[in-house]
């Protein structure tokens, strides 16, 4: 899903319903702006392929 995808609005509505979130229409534009910001961050992150042995770090020890 690219940041400027026209499908984002539809995705947000479906995902919100699945999550039990009744997002007020007045909030939706700002929610979309922030989601697109996150989508841009994710796109940047995916530029670096990860080795399949790289595990997540949910409880991280530096």
């Amino acid at each position: 899903m690219k940041p400027d995808s026209p499908d984002i609005q539809r995705y947000l509505e479906l995902a919100a319903a699945q999550a039990g979130l009744d997002i007020h229409p007045d909030y939706m534009e700002a929610v979309r702006v922030y989601f697109e910001l996150s989508a841009g961050m994710a796109a940047r992150l995916y530029e670096t392929p990860l080795d399949e042995h790289t595990e997540p770090a949910p409880v991280f020890k530096p």
Partner: protein, 501 residues
């Protein structure tokens, strides 16, 4: 090198080890027994000075506490740093310190030193607001946060809870429910956040010491914009038990102060594992005080290049250049993938905080600060793959920076891309690109906390301008090195004078 002082600095050198021979304000003698002297010089006194005077019997903890409370009553209406002043408790704690001294007991390292905490720390008997309206409906905390108990054990006096950005999801210091904390160096400007009240209370000289939390930069950004020293220890070094969580993978807590010595005294007092925080595990207590005055000889220090030289306004680069010049640093190290580290930190924060708040978002969305609510609603809808990619990338970036630290002991980087914006400013232009202030003011801090490295922010003041800070970043477990460099820079003139309100 002797940097110019700030816009409204008290002409102090709070690094002075002996305030009785030459007071921080230039007077020839300190007169702790004189309440007028104490009131006039309160904003210039460091925690170390106060503790020495209390231990020596030059002043009582009660007199110190009363002076501090009077100063807060006079100054805070202009700053809005405090959401609660715990005067009754403070006087009770001060009486306990004085009684211990009267019994001949040795008081702690912070005997009689007033401090305050960001209002996401549990304070027994108070509601833990975490900057929100919603949490006002919660019952009062039944016990103090671990770090408050540890500071109390050293004789420190808790004087109140401090304003913050709602649920810590903020880099501005603004708050829709309690009003913005105001930058003491120019009150129409932001403090930075989310520990904005902590930065403001210290910079205004109301308290010499405050605690904050830092998930992506929430200690370091207000330290930079308010011109004080701030410390984000390594991940898991200080216990978060009894604090309202924001993002479990990234949450840190730490001190803010006007001197490196005070920062170190607080850091040393708060160390130790805590079974109530799953990431605060045994790594040994490694105090910073023994090596604080060791200087910088033998240390390999480099400046962070690449990402950290882009996007910032000129003042960020100028502050970094002044610090590197003072330290004699000539090497610049490019840290690969830092833009991706920042992106990953953003996604982890967005996903974890939203998940934490999901039930509140379902039930009480209208009671949030709109900027926090909309960002969290978006975060609740992120695809799982984005989050997992970000968590996996932490290991990659950690390994890359571990390789850098094989060749150097500390890295220097700007703390913020600009000086404090005006309160209410929503957009900023960096490197020709317009962007929102709230999510982007921490773009230099976010990649570092992403992998939990220790950082100390050193303030850089300039004549006629607001302060800005520089990060001293060290390898895991090397907090003492960052403090040592900060102390050396302070001796060269990089000080944190309190603003005169």
């Amino acid at each position: 090198m002797s940097p110019d002082q700030g816009m409204n600095p008290a002409s102090e050198s709070s690094a002075s080890k002996n305030p009785t021979s030459e007071s921080p304000t230039g007077a020839t003698t300190a007169n702790w027994a004189d309440p007028d002297w104490l009131a006039r010089h309160w904003h210039t006194l460091s925690a170390a000075h106060i503790a020495r005077a209390v231990r020596d019997g030059a002043v009582s903890a009660r007199t110190v506490t009363e002076t501090c409370l009077a100063h807060i009553a006079r100054v805070d209406p202009h700053i809005n740093a405090f959401t609660e002043v715990t005067a009754e408790r403070a006087l009770r704690e001060a009486a306990a310190v004085d009684a211990a001294i009267a019994r001949g007991e040795t008081p702690g390292s912070l005997a009689g030193v007033p401090y305050a905490v960001k209002n996401l720390f549990d304070i027994e008997g108070l509601c833990t607001l975490a900057g929100s309206k919603i949490n006002r409906d919660d019952p009062p905390a039944t016990s103090d946060a671990t770090l408050i108990r540890r500071l109390q054990a050293t004789g420190a006096i808790l004087v109140g809870a401090l304003n913050m950005g709602e649920y810590a999801y903020d880099f501005t210091g603004e708050n829709a429910h309690y009003g913005a904390a105001r930058n003491p160096h120019a009150t129409e400007h932001m403090t930075g956040g989310s520990s904005g009240g902590s930065g403001a209370a210290v910079a205004a000289g109301m308290v010499p010491l405050a605690l904050g939390s830092d998930t992506n930069g929430s200690i370091r950004v207000p330290s930079s914009l308010c011109g004080v020293f701030g410390m984000k220890p390594g991940f898991g070094r200080l216990s978060r038990a009894g604090t309202f969580p924001f993002c479990a993978s990234l949450d840190h807590v730490g001190p803010m102060a006007r001197t490196a010595e005070d920062l170190t005294l607080a850091y040393d007092a708060m160390q130790g594992e805590d079974e109530r925080d799953p990431v605060c595990v045994a790594q040994g207590i490694e105090p910073g005080l023994p090596t604080l005055d060791a200087g910088i000889d033998g240390l390999r220090i480099a400046s962070a290049g690449g990402y950290f030289l882009k996007q910032g306004n000129p003042e960020a680069g100028e502050a970094l250049a002044r610090i590197t010049a003072a330290l004699g640093v000539s090497e610049t190290v490019d840290l690969p993938n830092t833009d991706k580290a920042r992106a990953a930190a953003y996604l982890i924060t967005n996903a974890e905080s939203s998940n934490l708040h999901l039930e509140r978002l379902r039930q009480r969305a209208a009671d949030y600060d709109p900027d926090v609510r909309d960002r969290m609603l978006a975060g609740a809808l992120l695809p799982a793959g984005w989050y997992l990619q970000a968590q996996r990338f932490r290991r990659v970036y950690r390994a890359q920076l571990a390789a850098v630290f094989e060749h150097c002991d500390a890295l220097l980087a700007p703390a913020t891309p600009m000086r404090a914006p005006r309160i209410g400013q929503r957009h900023m232009t960096l490197d020709g690109e317009q962007m929102l202030v709230r999510p982007h003011l921490g773009l230099y801090t976010q990649p570092i906390s992403f992998i939990g490295l220790p950082v100390v922010v050193v303030p850089v003041h300039s004549e006629g301008a607001l302060p800005i800070g520089v990060q001293i970043i060290t390898a895991p477990g090397q907090e003492a090195t960052a403090l040592r460099i900060a102390a050396w820079l302070e001796q060269q003139g990089f000080r944190a004078p309190a603003a005169v309100i």
